[in-house]
């Protein structure tokens, strides 16, 4: 059996993996091992199951069939499969955005209900963007109109998705020129499904371009609206102290883990868990209190707004259950392993599904609805409390690993962070880049994947980048992996960052790796790029900036959609393992070369996180040269 350290770089995870091995419990890693060898056709993207003349598969060695029954080549098949991943990813983010919009509408129409509008300034800013009159109107009225108009963006049939207009002018013109400016969030996803239906599009380029268009509708539409409207409802994040890793679970407390992606329910759970009513109930079962902990991106959402600790990232969902200390695990949508259903009862964890879109056989389903949010939340917390006495203390094993962190950096907050109430500005960041203290900015995001030791890709890459004076922005599971490694602590700047970056971090008091949120919050990185351009001195378009993206441990379709919209926005992006397209040379070349000509950026696939970081650094260096920026201030120190 594989050593636990080959499966995760994290000590707590290793401890739980070892426990599972001792108890002969299969985890994702074991299921991955059992799956070996994985299907080569699937990995290369040349298996087509789109119509029932097939399944068809192309022989990658050139001996067997080179086209499917319909005549689709490897190019067509790989391209279709890939953009269908984009469609699924964009659908997931955007459907999330739609649910948030519903919650906003709920808040607007029902002022006595569970939701409040916490960030009025942002509401007014969005109202202006959506051309909604605000003078003399009640907040609720404005919010209702905004919600309606935002919903229209999903169903929009013509014109342009409104938040795309936040992109710099040259970028918008580029999108129009190449006909990839999204017309409506849902429409572009639907078009992918049509375009890739049997016997429609047979031009891999045309298929991939539609993938770009749908992804832009995600990044600059569905995801962006999700982020913005969550900020309106639950408050825009500001730096906040919190903790992460399995050690945040508390022995004597009712531990409730919230897992998934949407904050609408979990924000209510926070309130419920803090209520006197629930605390009294917890006391009745001899618990010291109620300890809410996050998991995955629901966890990120709560962490950055409420400071709620995070128990872990994607590959730790089973490990949290293995502690035997989770009295309830509440899940909403996305990245929830079906394996939890069988695992939970053995460790007295009550698994609760809450979304009508995400159920599991044999698992209690307490359906969440925005209009009864608080009632549902209390019901769920109560279920956790009621399960507490069932906990078997002899089975409880909480790894003693906790890491402090600072989270909650939004694109808007950067203004304040760098200038306070009276000098809000991106100027210090731009200057730091221009003067060669900071080489560039990297967004390191994405999932975890048993193909890579958990956290190895994220942490190694982030460390390499900050060592080379690259400011790193992280979201999602990447953020949590870095957090566990202590990189989200400002003290880390002193130890690991290059001298220029270190100087900036010390001046500001910020960590060299900034937690900017969940995976829908990658839109925040796009806005940050826009803000840098607006501040001036670093070019006209996002593709001019010394920035790069990476998803070193990706696995989900959402990651593909994110990668597409990031590249489509002009940012060079490295994926750890390749997209499942290597069976088509043309598609691979299109992604890794040709897109450069079209959108000013492309993908690279590089599993070694240090080499991947170097690719990003090279890219930044070239952009710096093109902008004629000063050489790095402490060049000699940085090159050692």
């Amino acid at each position: 059996m594989a050593d636990a350290s080959d499966r995760s770089v994290d000590k707590a995870a290793q401890e739980m993996i070892a426990r599972a091995q001792d108890d002969d419990i299969g985890l994702a890693w074991d299921r991955y091992d059992a799956m070996q060898p994985q299907c080569g056709f699937g990995q290369l993207g040349i298996c087509c199951r789109i119509c029932h003349m097939g399944p068809c598969r192309i022989d990658p060695f050139g001996d067997g069939p080179q086209e499917g029954v319909c005549g689709a080549t490897a190019d067509v098949i790989a391209a279709r499969n890939l953009v269908r991943m984009v469609a699924a990813g964009a659908a997931a983010h955007s459907d999330h955005g739609r649910d948030v919009t519903h919650a906003l509408l709920q808040a607007a129409e029902n002022p006595e209900g569970s939701y409040l509008i916490k960030d009025e300034a942002k509401l007014l800013w969005l109202a202006e963007e959506f051309d909604i009159p605000t003078d003399g109107r009640q907040t609720n009225e404005i919010a209702a109109e905004l919600a309606h108009k935002a919903l229209e963006e999903f169903g929009r049939q013509e014109g342009e998705v409104i938040p795309t207009h936040r992109a710099p002018q040259p970028r918008q013109e580029l999108w129009r020129r190449h006909k990839i400016m999204p017309r409506g969030i849902d429409r572009e996803i639907v078009q992918i499904m049509h375009q890739t239906h049997m016997g429609v599009d047979a031009d891999y380029r045309n298929i991939l371009m539609q993938g770009l268009r749908a992804s832009l509708a995600d990044g600059w539409g569905g995801s962006m609206l999700a982020t913005d409207l969550q900020d309106v409802l639950f408050g825009s994040p500001e730096p906040i102290r919190s903790q992460t890793n399995l050690g945040v679970l508390k022995e004597d407390y009712v531990n409730i883990v919230v897992h998934g992606h949407e904050p609408a329910l979990s924000e209510m759970l926070v309130e419920a868990a803090r209520s006197q009513k629930m605390l009294a109930k917890a006391e009745q079962v001899d618990a010291k209190g109620i300890n809410l902990a996050g998991m995955c991106c629901t966890g990120n959402e709560l962490l950055m707004r409420q400071g709620i600790p995070s128990a872990g990232s994607f590959l730790m969902q089973e490990l949290a259950v293995l502690t035997g200390a989770v009295d309830a695990m509440v899940v909403d949508v996305q990245c929830i392993m079906p394996a939890l259903a069988d695992l939970s009862p053995s460790f007295t964890t009550k698994l609760v599904t809450t979304s009508p879109k995400a159920k599991m056989p044999g698992v209690e389903h307490i359906e969440f609805s925005e209009d009864e949010a608080m009632v549902v939340a209390e019901q769920i917390v109560a279920a956790g409390i009621e399960n507490f006495p069932n906990r078997r203390d002899s089975r409880v094993q909480i790894p003693d690993h906790v890491m402090d962190l600072i989270g909650g950096f939004s694109a808007e907050y950067v203004h304040t962070m760098l200038g306070g109430r009276f000098r809000p500005s991106y100027r210090p960041l731009n200057n730091a880049i221009i003067e060669g203290r900071i080489r560039g900015v990297a967004g390191v995001v994405g999932c975890e994947n048993p193909q890579i030791p958990q956290g190895y890709g994220h942490v190694t890459m982030a460390e390499e980048l900050i060592k080379n004076d690259v400011l790193v922005l992280v979201t999602g599971c990447s953020a949590l992996a870095d957090a566990r490694a202590g990189l989200l602590q400002p003290d880390a700047a002193l130890e690991m960052a290059g001298p220029g970056l270190r100087e900036v971090c010390e001046a500001v008091g910020m960590p060299p790796v900034l937690h900017v949120g969940s995976c829908v919050d990658n839109s925040r990185i796009l806005i940050a790029c826009c803000n840098v351009l607006l501040e001036g001195g670093l070019g006209e378009d996002i593709s001019d900036l010394p920035v790069a993206g990476a998803a070193p441990e990706w696995m989900s379709e959402k990651a593909i959609s994110i990668g597409f919209y990031v590249v489509g926005s002009g940012i060079f992006t490295v994926f750890g393992t390749p997209h499942p397209v290597l069976g088509s040379e043309n598609v691979t070349r299109f992604l890794c070369e040709d897109m450069e000509e079209i959108v000013g950026a492309c993908f690279a696939f590089e599993p070694d996180p240090i080499k991947a970081a170097q690719l990003m650094i090279d890219r930044m260096n070239r952009k710096r040269e093109a902008l004629r920026l000063e050489p790095m201030m402490y060049a000699e120190a940085a090159s050692t």
């Binding site: 962070m417 200038g419 306070g420 400002p490 900036v504 001046a507 008091g509």
Partner: protein, 734 residues
């Protein structure tokens, strides 16, 4: 590291706010909410609060609101580990500190404990405006707020000389362990007791002691922030506009000498938020990444020999140090020095000897560029405190040189000589009077050096015109008198030429848009009979300036078709003004106060205003701080007249315009003048007399009231009636 700074600054801000809070509570208890509170001679209330918050604080009750705002800005000190970003909190704490210090100082003024004896305290709007033009034209490249004291007298003197040499205004603030820089400079002999008796005398030498405590830094900073409101045209309450202006336009920096304690850090944070970096001579942590300030924010420089240069580099102050081969520094900062008899080594001119300066253009071949020829006994032969004759013959040549420029260039000897430390120059032509101080003499100043500074100045400032220059200096009385003979016909010719010039005798006027940087729509039109409203430019200067820089702010303005000769309105002048005022001013009448008067930038020497009750006009000069019959002081009037707006009935003018034949001739001319300040009257008395003679109203000068005769309208009317002032019987103005 910066966190140490952050912690100290935030701690300091809490201390400042709580001190202000305690003082204010006590004052409220003693005086009540409605007690008036104000700084002297300002239209900007408590300027920092006015600029940043838009607050018009007049009472203690209103002051409390400002302090409550400051309290809201306070943040906790950064934690030991896992700290939250602290830069924003530090900058906010800085502003909280400044608002608290302003509160404390306003309360000091209320209690009568400010300004402290021997210290300047609050800086009035008048000073702000007077020095404003120096900031605009670069005579003053910036200011230094020196906080603390130097390690020894020698260093104190060295630093202050380095600042003076670069014409940087220096405020002396606070102390280091009880020692103040002012006292150090007194002991070192750089300052004299005059500074203690009259701290405002420091303006002349660019060294102003504001106060012996750190809180006095607010005087420098709430002076700077008014620059945004006055010269930047920023609205009060537009904190972003104000702070962007101070960072972009006011080249100030803090120089911390000695220990930087919490309060100094907190005050420094406020300065940094305004865009003013802080440089210290002790082992402090630095903040070098740029962006809050233009360059670095907090810098350490332990080497006192380099500290002033470091300050200049860090703030990006644009300084042109004139390197002249003379034994003392040369800079505008030394222009206002007065050399008293007891400090004087030798003098020239006045009633003590012959002293003449004469500049002429000759053929370039006859000039050995840069040559200074000396004849006669040098300074070391004269008795201490004695006098010598002096003749300065300055000869210049240049392809663009014209005979007309001779007087303008000749007058530059005044500036050139005065800019040398320890030299004093007054008068002109054969009525010059010069003094050399003992220190400057000891430093090695000799006759030759007069020539050196004059040549250097001409070549630096007028290099476009003056290609070559040489000077002959003589201390032989006979030679000086010969020079006088040579010069007199030239003087006469010039007088005739200038005096003979009328607006009708020329086809071109000259514009001046030098001040558009802060009054964007202002266009000055300078004619032979109407000099610029700042008093610094006449028509010939305008022409010379245009010759020197054809793309500069002084452009020829075609008169074009005359629309109204009485009002002084010309078609092409109107067009020029329209085009150059960003299409906001359509017409201008040069000789009228009532119909389409010229715009005013803010640098005017005097303000004229209509007094309908007495059918006349009054004129008040900048230096006058008292009340006028209009019921408004100069500073208040200036606020509404400046900024490049057309305000019929109000006009900014240069002093000497009063004695021009074209003086508001459209509205009745000099006989309309019913009130002027005593100072102005005395200054212009001779010219007034001549004008009165020409008008056949010899009694007019006596009929014009001054503040000694009237400061209210009632008093004025009585005075005018008693004296039979002609304005009373002129056509009604309205």
């Amino acid at each position: 590291m910066s966190k140490i700074v952050a912690t100290a600054a935030i701690r300091g801000s809490h201390d400042a706010v709580s001190r202000a809070d305690a003082r204010l509570k006590a004052a409220l208890e003693e005086h009540g909410e409605d007690q008036q509170v104000a700084f002297p001679e300002t239209a900007f209330y408590l300027p920092m609060a006015c600029a940043l918050l838009g607050a018009e604080v007049e009472t203690l009750g209103e002051l409390r609101e400002v302090l409550e705002y400051a309290q809201g800005l306070l943040v906790d000190e950064p934690s030991e580990a896992v700290w939250l970003p602290y830069l924003s909190g530090v900058l906010d704490a800085g502003i909280a500190t400044l608002l608290s210090q302003e509160t404390l100082k306003a309360l000091d003024y209320l209690d009568g404990t400010a300004p402290q004896d021997g210290w300047h305290g609050f800086i009035s709007d008048t000073v702000l405006r007077t020095l404003g033009i120096q900031l605009v034209d670069g005579r003053m490249p910036g200011f230094a707020a020196v906080v603390g004291a130097a390690p020894d007298l020698e260093t104190a003197e060295y630093i202050i000389r380095e600042l003076q040499k670069r014409s940087i205004l220096t405020f002396l603030i606070g102390n280091h362990e009880g020692q103040t820089m002012r006292d150090q400079l007194l002991e070192a002999g750089v300052l004299t007791d005059a500074i203690v008796e009259d701290p405002a005398s420091g303006w002349d030498i660019y060294i102003v002691p504001l106060g012996p405590d750190t809180d006095s830094i607010i005087y420098a900073l709430n002076w700077a922030i008014r620059g945004a409101l006055t010269f930047g045209g920023v609205q009060k309450g537009d904190w972003k506009g104000c702070l962007d202006y101070t960072r972009a336009h006011i080249f100030a920096f803090g120089l911390g000498l000695g220990t930087i304690d919490d309060l100094k850090y907190a005050s420094g944070a406020g300065a940094i938020t305004m865009g003013f970096p802080v440089i210290a001579d002790t082992e402090i942590p630095e903040i070098r990444p740029t962006g809050v300030c233009t360059y670095e924010e907090l810098v350490r420089e332990l080497d006192h020999d380099r500290i002033v240069q470091t300050c200049i580099d860090v703030r990006g102050v644009k300084v042109t140090v004139r390197e002249v081969d003379v034994p003392v520094p040369v800079a505008a900062a030394f222009e206002g020095e007065v050399i008293r008899r007891e400090d004087m080594q030798v003098e020239f001119g006045s009633k003590y000897s012959t002293a003449i300066e004469y500049l002429r253009m000759i053929d370039g071949d006859e000039i050995e560029d840069g040559k200074v020829e000396v004849s006669g006994p040098d300074l070391d032969t004269a008795d201490e405190g004695g006098a010598l004759p002096l003749g300065l013959l300055i000869e210049v040549a240049g392809r663009k040189m014209q005979k007309d420029f001779e007087p303008i260039l000749e007058r530059q000897t005044h500036t050139a000589i005065n800019h040398a430390m320890g030299l004093f120059h007054m008068g002109q032509r054969d009525m010059a009077w010069l003094r050399v101080s003992k220190d400057t003499f000891k430093a090695g100043w000799r006759l030759r050096h007069f020539g050196e500074v004059v040549i250097a100045h001409l070549k630096n400032e007028f290099g476009v015109i003056v290609d070559k220059a040489q000077v002959t200096v003589t201390s032989v009385d006979e030679e000086a008198k010969q020079l006088q003979e040579l010069a007199r016909p030239a003087y006469l010719e010039r007088d005739e030429r200038i005096a003979g010039m009328t607006d009708e005798s020329v086809d071109l006027f000259y514009s001046c848009t030098l001040c558009q940087s802060y009054a964007p729509n202002h266009v000055c039109v300078i004619s032979p009979e109407r000099l610029g409203l700042c008093g610094a430019y006449n028509w010939l200067d305008g022409r010379a300036a245009y010759e020197m820089n054809p793309h500069g702010p002084n452009q020829p303005v075609e008169k074009g078709r005359c629309i109204d000769p009485v009002k002084g309105e010309w078609e092409s002048v109107n067009q020029f003004v329209y085009d150059n005022s960003h299409r906001s001013v359509e017409r201008v009448c040069l000789y009228s106060l009532m119909d389409a008067p010229m715009t005013s930038c803010g640098c005017f020497e005097c303000i004229m205003a209509v007094l309908p009750e007495v059918n006349g006009f009054m004129i008040v000069n900048r230096e006058y701080t008292g009340m006028t019959p209009l019921g408004l002081a100069f500073s208040t009037l200036a606020g509404s007249v400046g900024g490049g707006h057309v305000t019929p009935g109000f006009l900014g003018v240069g002093r000497r315009y009063v004695i021009s034949p074209k003086f508001i001739s459209a509205d009745g001319g000099l006989p309309r003048l019913v009130w002027m300040t005593k100072d102005l009257k005395d200054d212009l008395l001779e010219g007034l007399g001549e004008r009165a003679e020409k008008l056949e109203m010899p009694d007019l000068p006596g009929q014009i009231a001054t503040e000694e005769d009237a400061t209210t309208l009632d008093e004025l009317l009585a005075f005018l009636e008693k004296g039979g002032h002609p304005a009373l019987s002129m056509d009604p103005l309205f």
